[in-house]
Symmetry: C2
Subunit: 181 residues, 2 copies
DNA sequence: CTGTATTTTCATTACTTAATGAAAGTATGA
DNA sequence: TCATACTTTCATTAAGTAATGAAAATACAG
């Protein structure tokens, strides 16, 4: 019933070991970055997989439940870090990861910008406006702080946007030139 | 017994409201960034406070326990985002925040680099070496992926280091020029 | 349609992380 | 050195987050 085409069949064991360590570390790092562990692990697994995998293969490989696998695969699709793939003559879906490092970087940058930078920017803008007309030394201090923060975060936001829109071939050489190697 | 010099005594209420919203939002954002909520709130409170505060004032203002306040104040001191201050003739410690946005940015950048980037870089380096001599197409693919990731992350690491070491007066004008405003 | 393969949902459970507050520890002034 | 003000610790509790897996929903082949 369960077919035995697991991704690691016949893999030399040292490669298997290295892969597993990569998957584990990538997952651990995920949590530090506010991305959940399983999601990062699935992403890692698909990044180093030579071929697209099914939900069942992901479950087997990472030893996780169906619900967990499904939820995190959907989430990854939502981020644009993996895509679904249908094989003609088969019912089940396959998943494959974006493997281009630059593209991964752009996707993650945009997503983090959207989720983390933009809400702060809105809040800072409001605080800055609200405090503009307040009287008193404390209020002026507060206003100054909001202005300083907003200007800075806004600049960072612009930089991220510009970079994430650029082509690798333009940015990397420039960065290497500017910041040495 | 409890002295009434709370930080917000006699604050116009609209300023108080704005401050509280800032503190709340900064705290919420903290969690998205892997920094705990209370730590981010204390940091925000001290950033907008006109004068240094004591542990008891922080407790009162944020409605948190002594243990919680103490732990997170220490953590912030560890990051270098706030510093302690002793007032002659008084036993208790006061805490004051670094308020310069550029310096805050540099501190946070260095800390995140140290905690999040460097361990990954080590791991990728090891994986890259381990897989260098492995045979087979899959192993070559894996090696290539590790190389691509390590080159990229290493470049990012260098850029962060260089920027965090630079002076605001050099970086900001350059960034504004390069990435438009 | 109807039966089966596959995917999705979601109430429950497990795990992880943070917060509490009393007790222990430390430092200071008299 | 004693009494007191203040700080730190840490076992316990609470809150938040993720994982499970069975049941429901969906899609598809015949």
């Amino acid at each position: 019933m369960k077919n035995k085409n697991n991704a690691d069949v016949a893999l030399p064991s040292d490669l298997k070991v290295a892969r597993d360590e990569f998957i584990g570390s990538w997952g651990a790092m995920g949590s530090a970055w506010g991305i959940n562990r399983t999601m990062a692990q699935i992403h890692a697994l698909l990044m180093v997989s030579a071929r697209p995998l099914t939900t069942d293969e992901v479950m087997a490989e990472l030893q996780i439940s169906r619900g967990n696998a499904n939820t995190n695969l959907r989430e990854l699709v939502g981020w644009g870090l993996i895509r679904t793939l249908i094989v003609k003559g088969e019912r089940k879906e396959y998943f494959e990861a974006e493997k281009d490092v630059w593209r991964i970087f752009c996707i993650v940058t945009r997503e983090r910008k959207r989720r983390e930078i933009e809400p702060i920017l809105d809040m800072l803008g409001r605080m800055r406006d609200d405090s503009r007309s307040m009287k008193g030394g404390e209020a002026q201090e507060f206003h100054k702080m909001m202005k300083g923060l907003q200007d800075f975060v806004s600049l960072a936001d612009n930089v991220m946007e510009k970079i994430a829109r650029s082509e690798e071939g333009k940015v990397i050489p420039f960065v290497v030139k500017t910041f040495g190697k």
